[in-house]
Symmetry: C2
Subunit: 390 residues, 2 copies
Amino acid sequence: MSERDLTNRVLLGPGPSNVNPRVTQSMLKGMLGHLDPEFWPITDQVCAMLREVFHTKGDFTLPISATGMAGMESAFCNLIEPGDKVVVIVNGFFGTRMVDVASRCGADVHKVDVPWGSPVLPEIVEDVLKKESNVKAVAFVHAETSTGVLSPIKEITGVIHEHEALVILDVVTSLGGVKFLMDEWDVDVCYSASQKCLGAPPGMSPISFSGRAIDSIKARKTQVQSYYLDILNLKNYWSKRKMYHHTAPILMIYALREALLMMMEEGLENRWARHSMNAAALRAGLESLGLELLADPKYRAAPLTTVKVPDGIEASKVIQALYGEYNLEIGNGLGDFKDKIWRIGLMGDSCKSSNVLMLLSALENVLPKQGFETGVGVAVAEAERVLLGK
Amino acid sequence: MSERDLTNRVLLGPGPSNVNPRVTQSMLKGMLGHLDPEFWPITDQVCAMLREVFHTKGDFTLPISATGMAGMESAFCNLIEPGDKVVVIVNGFFGTRMVDVASRCGADVHKVDVPWGSPVLPEIVEDVLKKESNVKAVAFVHAETSTGVLSPIKEITGVIHEHEALVILDVVTSLGGVKFLMDEWDVDVCYSASQKCLGAPPGMSPISFSGRAIDSIKARKTQVQSYYLDILNLKNYWSKRKMYHHTAPILMIYALREALLMMMEEGLENRWARHSMNAAALRAGLESLGLELLADPKYRAAPLTTVKVPDGIEASKVIQALYGEYNLEIGNGLGDFKDKIWRIGLMGDSCKSSNVLMLLSALENVLPKQGFETGVGVAVAEAERVLLGK
């Protein structure tokens, strides 16, 4: 592939996804200064739309000027003081990341392992909190990007708040692609990333803090260890006071705004339905090929489908063939699941029926060459049936 | 101003600067995954060009995926462990920021105040280091973005290394606009920002660590408190190993690459000369209007000119008039200098003679309306003389 072909890559990995041309074109608007009065309505508009997307009235809702990992770091470093006890329920790679990030904040981390591929369930959390006292926060991932597993939220936050702990939730892969209601589900801090279901380029990490979380931050005895991620300082810039904090990444904010405008036009419920429908079609197609999905049907995150690599097949060879022959990306497994699963993302602008059909037809071509027999046209037909509601 | 006019804003503040259309257009290239093999040559190319720009052979040279403030934070949090003694020489707003950031890393900070508007000089550093023992690092700013003052480096790093401390240097406003030679001047950590003299949009922070700095980091007893900014982890992603760390902001990297390519084509020495020439013309013009410059002529940073607001004139009214009547941005003072100085940036793509002449002519129109009499055409003529070498 030469660089001039880059525009054709179809991104069906775990993110970044393809970005709608309307979003990239918005970045051609001229640069503004980060303290320019003309920039303020744009920041206000972005924050207002993010509140819609998170389903929160919370005032401390803004995009961190860095990628999703910085969002995770911001959640922990604002909420956690050295010595605070934090329970992290780990059911995949990003749960493990949370343990690392929380430890670096000086947290007393209690890691609870759930098998990768299983969801976090209320009874698991209940069991832990019965045994542990003085837990400051419980952290887990809504849609594990390493496994495609979606955990229930509302039941779990109830348990956590009964034990007077705060809820830290990773909604990187879920936000904008599956139902998520921050206020109604009583989440205290949640963060996402611009490049997945939100449909913007990578580089921004929307985050939101509940009033309870902000009260806790205001009562800290120690300073937040990161200047860059300090939410109270950030709020002074993003809010009406517009105090200089850092030079906002202007063009990324134009792009995020345009992506959010497109979400508003589509409607959040329609968007969730689109992600759900295309995932169902993809999954029907994959299973008709004789492939096995990793996640339990009850706990599958629509934006990310995880497929077990069949015995005798080399995961990376299939990925390479899809790159080389179809200019199409799917992801390998992460961590323990490397070479054991493929991760197929249908997120944001990449989440469309034509991509489902193209990938299935590509797999029907590529897999047999790697020694895994499939029928011809079977998967595409199966997916079409789902899409047509037949 | 309606949004469709945004493209016309001429940015002559302290950054961001205008971005060449070639740079913004490069962001229209299609998205790639952050682990896509086709993306690796792009990351390698960016790092190689950054080594050229920093004038270093150092392998630990890469762009942090966030703005310049995150670069500052990365410098301190990688180098400093809790309790380490750090001397920060403060001669402006960003020196004060360094104190804040270093404190949040748990440093035992010794702040040394130099009057705002004065340079950091070797004798100041020598005096401090004679009195203090066990200093881990000395930090200061090359070109203070709040004052436009440029401090000498080579003489100071010599003093610091004699006392066996490490040098942390902010080159946010200087890199790419004035001579800077990291290896020859023996700097241990320095960081910059994409949106000033490098000519890219805001959002990335190039950083470089010396071998001495990396040895010190490898000998740490405690973990780096930030996962996102941990240079050893970042290196694993950016280097040949390409290990997943975070989702790189792909489009920002395309833009940074294009901006760096343009620097390479222009040549660094030519670029320094361009910044120097336009600054000289601007300054001659401003002084011919009867305005007084803040910085001592021996210590002026070419990319940023600071002008004292004359008695009886309201700084912000002039700024507003330039916005409103000329669609042109200059900056107000920061911190102690708010409303006391204007900050005029000539950086990257904004650094051109036509902008110098336009601003001077705008000032000849705007200042008299605010009660500060100027001649007509005087400043423009003076600037033209400098530009023509007359």
